[in-house]
């Protein structure tokens, strides 16, 4: 499998480290229900069969964190962008 890094081009998947769901956001620690919010942020994950936005790190490349939209059934990659990029 190859992943097209927006900075480095197409590279073997071995160059990347996988983290997981890119849709969860670190909660505000000041909210009243922070304990529950963090519990959900750290542990609760959807496991969709289909399109999934996930974080990959180009560890053996430019060290960019990327958001990869991948179909979990086919591994087909729809989009790849640097995290936070619009």
């Amino acid at each position: 499998m190859q992943i097209e890094c927006p900075f480095c081009g197409k590279r073997d998947a071995h160059e990347f480290a996988y983290l997981g769901d890119a849709t969860v956001a670190r909660p505000d620690p000041a909210v009243p229900d922070a304990a529950r919010a963090f519990y959900e942020y750290v542990y609760l994950r959807d496991n969709p069969a289909g399109s999934h936005r996930e974080l990959w790190y180009h560890s053996a490349g430019c060290h960019s964190w990327l958001v990869v939209t991948r179909d979990t059934r086919t591994h087909a990659i729809e989009t790849i962008a640097q995290v936070g990029a619009r």
């Binding site: 480290a17 909660p27 000041a30 304990a35 963090f38 750290v42 560890s59 964190w65 059934r73």
Partner: protein
């Protein structure tokens, strides 16, 4: 012993080179063959019928097929370190000096004591593992499994390191053609003529597929001649890569294919510098799967007897290898294709005794052929049982169309139950094959993007369709890859028909009828599975082990499915589908490992002082990828503890130096660098003054300690962080995550500088005296100018830029001197000269460890992935004024419970006792059980300063139990001693030595 003549070699014909003779041995018997033979064909030419014993029942087995689908003829190939079990004799290319042994027999193949298993067969029926050996579980490992394994028998691995090398390689092409039979050759020609870069792979050592084994005529030439011309044209084309002996074993994402090239397997020993096998990753814009089809059996009594063979395999041996598997043959076929066998036998002079065709009416031409062969014809007949011994077949029982049973004497039986398209590669990405009633076979369902199936693999079993498919799909593949295909011409070939009448299993067999030969699964096993409710294909498979052997049931699965369908009154597609996973045929682990073995498994990183340390005779230890000096033995020191004690005493008494360059170093810069550190560490760093160093611990978001180390502030907007050796890359990734994903608004940049700096710890009461001699004049490193936890920029040895950190892991007055890595070798030598007058020693990781344990510093053993900051005595560092990673989760009740195992020191009550890391703590007199477990000893060391062993450990409520005694229980090493809980800081608890 001189080899006997090849008694079953036909006088003429075949694609073998009779001008050369190859010698080989099978079970110690010398035999000969010719180039072009496989081991199987050479065995047949030598009249060998019996090739091995079966896995479970030790039944005698012969050669069933002529290809990679072979379930029976598995041998141990070669000897010594190269001995390889479970090698298919049908795919081993004969070479001079080949040595092979049959498997699963004791004491000899002909007389096998374990065939008594056959008499015990009631206990080996479906599900026997589940039923017979249920209880007690502990018996499995010690009793049942060894027993079953010995009885069942598998080949023996060599137990020696593999002396050969394996390679990995990548290839890219426009069109990958998988299979070099008529379809594949045609597809390759068609794509290559369009200008595409083509790779053509075939598992055989010769291209041609069935063209080698049948009497085909194409464009007026023999199939073999047409093939030779096609291969010649492809060889002349520089854009074509021909890969013989190469199995495309897997299809993966993004049009990537795995292939195994057997580079040196056909040689006795690979040539110098030649890998034995090469693992290819082939990325193809388009791929044509022309893998052909696998002939399937018909299940009847004794269908596994030596002498029973697939009809197509028999034709391979006769036509391609000029070897006669039988002299008086029976043919059992439910389709027209099987009848080719009769014509080929007439040509080769093999007597066909009988043809049994279950179809009620067969074409007139076949009746004439039977007459010509002098064979009895049983139209509408069935073979119910085959009888024979380990030496071969004797007779078959034929049920005639009128219901009589007749015995026919034969010494061989060719069987054709039709063909299963080889669609494995279309399933590797999850698609399932679909059933086609008209050919009674599964064909490809959805195909992976970029892959098309052609020829017999689609169920088009006649040569005309195969050639036409190849022409068309090869051209389309080239076009899809951006080329313009020339108008294709399809070579002329004679017409063929299939005329199949499905027949999976003959009823009324009186003897054992096998479905899966390799795993010894019988038709009766399927009946039992059905009766006991294991009717779904997945259950059937697991309960009976059908199709779970190394051949993945290539000759078995569809028959098994059909039998289950008949039992349950469902259609085959209703019953289920077979599916396939990579690899298509087994691939040696060595090929996947390639060069990544032994010391090449991962790179070895050397410290800047490595060459110097090696000169000193240092003992090295692997720390992750690093090789670090463990201790430096002096002449006369034979015991590691003696050396380590000397090093520790020297540091605590005078001065020592240790290379600490392996610690991770991250340079962090930017206006918000301090803010980032505040959020990453549990304690604060933004208020750290310039020129100061602070110890910090960081958590994972779940509240568990991730790493620790010191971070120095070099400037208002610049810090340098140190991490543990093991976590350097992980922390870097974590910081990048925090910056890029969590807080991109922070103005901060970071880079790993671990390898840019050589860093030496200089520790001991004479450390400052030593340092003073190294640094260039004008720099003031007095206690006043550079106090404990200070950092300054200096130059050493006449202008080498460096950083001097006043930090200590040993508990002594200590500095860490960092210089650019290229000066590391020179600087370690300079440090040793400077310290010589004070008696400086070099110390290694062992002495480093002893001193950190004496000082109670948690390290890798304590940062065990379950310990919190509080557990490690770092609770006071956790800031209440700011958020940081892990802060919220660290407050969970389970993590703040004072009963959690927490850091404490331990000394043996009897000071002569040795402590052992890993020992578990139990209350005095408590029964050793998990419920009484209070924690465990994480690190131990012999303290030369205290003259007894000291330990660190995590024990329930540790900090509040100093003075209490517990048991340190270590059943693995028979240790059970009393220890006293104490402060983890054994030396200089006030830290006075650090600040002098």
């Amino acid at each position: 012993m001189t080899p006997l003549p090849q008694s079953r070699r036909l006088a003429s014909g075949g694609l073998i080179d009779r001008s050369r003779t190859l010698s080989f041995q099978f079970d110690g018997k010398p035999m000969t063959g010719h180039p072009g033979d496989t081991l199987a064909s050479a065995l047949i030419a030598n009249g060998t019928i019996l090739a091995g014993r079966s896995f479970k029942y030790h039944r005698p087995r012969g050669i069933l097929t002529a290809g990679s689908e072979e379930p029976n003829a598995l041998v141990e190939l070669r000897s010594g370190a190269r001995r390889e079990p479970n090698t298919k004799a049908t795919t081993v290319e004969l070479f001079d000096g080949l040595v092979a042994r049959s498997q699963n027999r004791w004491p000899s193949l002909g007389f096998d004591v374990m065939s008594v298993n056959s008499l015990l067969s009631p206990i080996f029926v479906a599900g026997f593992y589940y039923k017979t050996f249920m209880w007690p579980a502990a018996f499995w490992e010690k009793l049942y499994e060894p027993l079953i394994r010995r009885a069942a028998g598998l080949g023996r691995a060599s137990r020696e390191p593999d002396p050969d090398s394996y390679e990995k390689a990548f290839a890219f092409c426009d069109v990958l053609v998988i299979g070099g039979g008529p379809t594949g050759l045609m597809a390759a020609l068609s794509a290559a003529r369009a200008g595409a870069h083509v790779i053509l792979c075939d598992e055989d050592f010769s291209f041609g597929g069935r063209l080698l084994s049948e009497q085909f005529v194409i464009d007026g030439q023999s199939g073999a001649d047409w093939k030779a011309a096609a291969v010649f044209e492809l060889e002349q084309n520089p854009a074509v890569t021909l890969m013989r002996r190469t199995t495309v074993f897997g299809g993966y994402d993004q049009s990537t294919y795995g292939a195994l090239e057997r580079v040196g397997d056909h040689l006795p020993v690979p040539l110098p510098h030649m890998p034995r096998q090469r693992l290819w990753k082939i990325v193809a814009k388009r791929a044509v799967l022309a893998a052909g089809a696998v002939e399937r059996q018909i299940v009847f009594g004794g269908n596994d007897r030596p002498g029973v063979m697939m009809a197509s395999a028999l034709r391979s041996y006769v036509n391609r290898f000029a070897a006669a598997p039988a002299q008086r043959l029976g043919l059992f076929t439910n389709n027209d294709d099987g009848w080719k066998t009769v014509a080929d036998c007439i040509r080769a002079g093999i007597k066909v005794e009988a043809v049994i065709d279950p179809r009620p009416a067969i074409p007139e031409a076949f009746r004439q052929l039977a007459i010509q062969a002098g064979a009895r014809l049983f139209e509408g007949g069935l073979v119910q049982d085959a009888h024979g011994t380990a030496r071969g077949l004797q007779s078959i029982d034929v049920m005639t169309s009128t219901g009589r049973t007749e015995s026919v004497a034969v010494d061989g039986l060719a069987v054709s139950g039709g063909w299963n398209p080889a669609v494995a590669l279309t399933c590797h990405l999850g698609a399932r094959p679909v059933w086609r009633d008209d050919i009674s076979a599964f064909v490809a369902g959805d195909t992976p993007p970029g892959l098309v199936v052609a020829g017999a693999a689609t169920g088009a079993f006649d040569l005309r369709s195969c050639l036409a498919d190849g022409v068309r799909l090869g051209a389309e593949a080239a076009q899809a890859a951006g080329f313009t295909a020339v108008a294709p011409t399809v070579p002329a070939a004679s017409e063929e028909t299939l005329g199949l009448m499905p027949l999976w299993k003959v009823t009324g067999a009186r003897t054992k009828a096998f479905v899966d030969f390799q795993n010894d699964v019988t038709a009766k096993d399927i009946v039992i599975a059905e009766r006991e409710g294991f009717r779904s294909v997945e259950h059937l498979k697991r309960y009976t082990t059908l199709g779970m052997a190394t051949d993945q049931g290539k000759t078995a699965n569809v028959n098994g499915l059909a039998i289950m369908a008949a039992l349950t009154g469902r259609s085959i597609p209703e019953t289920g589908t077979t599916t396939f996973r990579p690899p298509y045929t087994p691939v040696a682990i060595g090929a996947f490992a390639g060069h990544h073995r032994g010391k090449h498994f991962r790179p070895t990183r050397l410290t800047p002082s490595h060459a110097w340390a090696a000169e000193q005779g240092a003992q090295f230890v692997e720390a992750g990828q690093w090789l670090r000096a463990q201790w430096f033995p002096k002449p006369g020191e034979t015991d590691w503890l003696t050396s380590v004690n000397r090093e520790v005493i020297a540091v605590r008494g005078a001065v020592g130096v240790c290379d600490v360059s392996t610690l991770g170093k991250i340079d962090i810069q930017g206006a918000d660098a301090g803010t980032l550190l505040d959020r990453v560490y549990i304690n604060g760093f933004s208020a750290l003054p310039v020129g100061k160093v602070r110890y910090g611990a960081m958590l994972r978001e779940d509240g568990i300690v991730m790493d620790d180390g010191t971070t120095a502030r070099l400037a208002q907007d610049r810090y340098v962080m140190s991490t543990t050796t093991a976590n350097a890359a992980k922390v870097m990734q974590h910081l990048e995550f925090c910056h890029q994903v969590l807080w991109p608004e922070l103005d901060v940049q970071m880079v790993s500088v671990t390898e840019q700096w050589a860093q030496f710890s200089i520790a001991g009461p004479r450390a400052r005296d030593t340092i003073q001699k190294l640094i260039d004049p004008m720099a003031d490193v007095s206690n006043m100018a550079l106090p404990y936890m200070g950092v300054t920029t200096i130059t050493v040895c006449g202008g080498i830029p460096g950083r001097l950190f006043r930090i200590s892991f040993s508990g002594e007055l200590a500095y860490e001197l960092a210089v650019p890595a290229r000066y590391g070798d020179g600087v370690i030598r300079a440090i040793m000269s400077a310290g010589a007058e004070y008696g400086i020693v070099a110390y290694g990781t062992e002495a480093l460890g002893v001193m950190r344990i004496e000082k109670g510093h948690p390290a890798g053993n304590e940062l065990n992935g379950t310990a919190t900051a509080r557990d490690l005595g770092l609770g006071k560092l956790m800031s209440q004024k700011k958020d940081f990673i892990g802060r919220v989760m660290a407050e969970r009740s389970g993590l703040t419970n004072p009963d959690r195992p927490s850091l404490a020191g331990f000394v043996p009550v009897n000071r002569a006792d040795r402590l052992r890391a890993g020992a578990h703590f139990l209350g005095l007199g408590a029964h050793p059980s998990a419920s009484n477990d209070q924690g465990y000893m994480t690190s131990v060391a012999f303290s030369p300063s205290l003259s007894h062993w000291v330990g660190l450990g995590l024990i329930k409520n540790g900090p509040n139990r100093h003075g209490e005694r517990v048991r340190a229980y270590d059943p693995v090493r028979r240790g059970d001693i009393e220890v006293e809980i104490c402060s983890p800081v054994f030396i200089d608890p006030e830290g006075g030595r650090l600040r002098v």
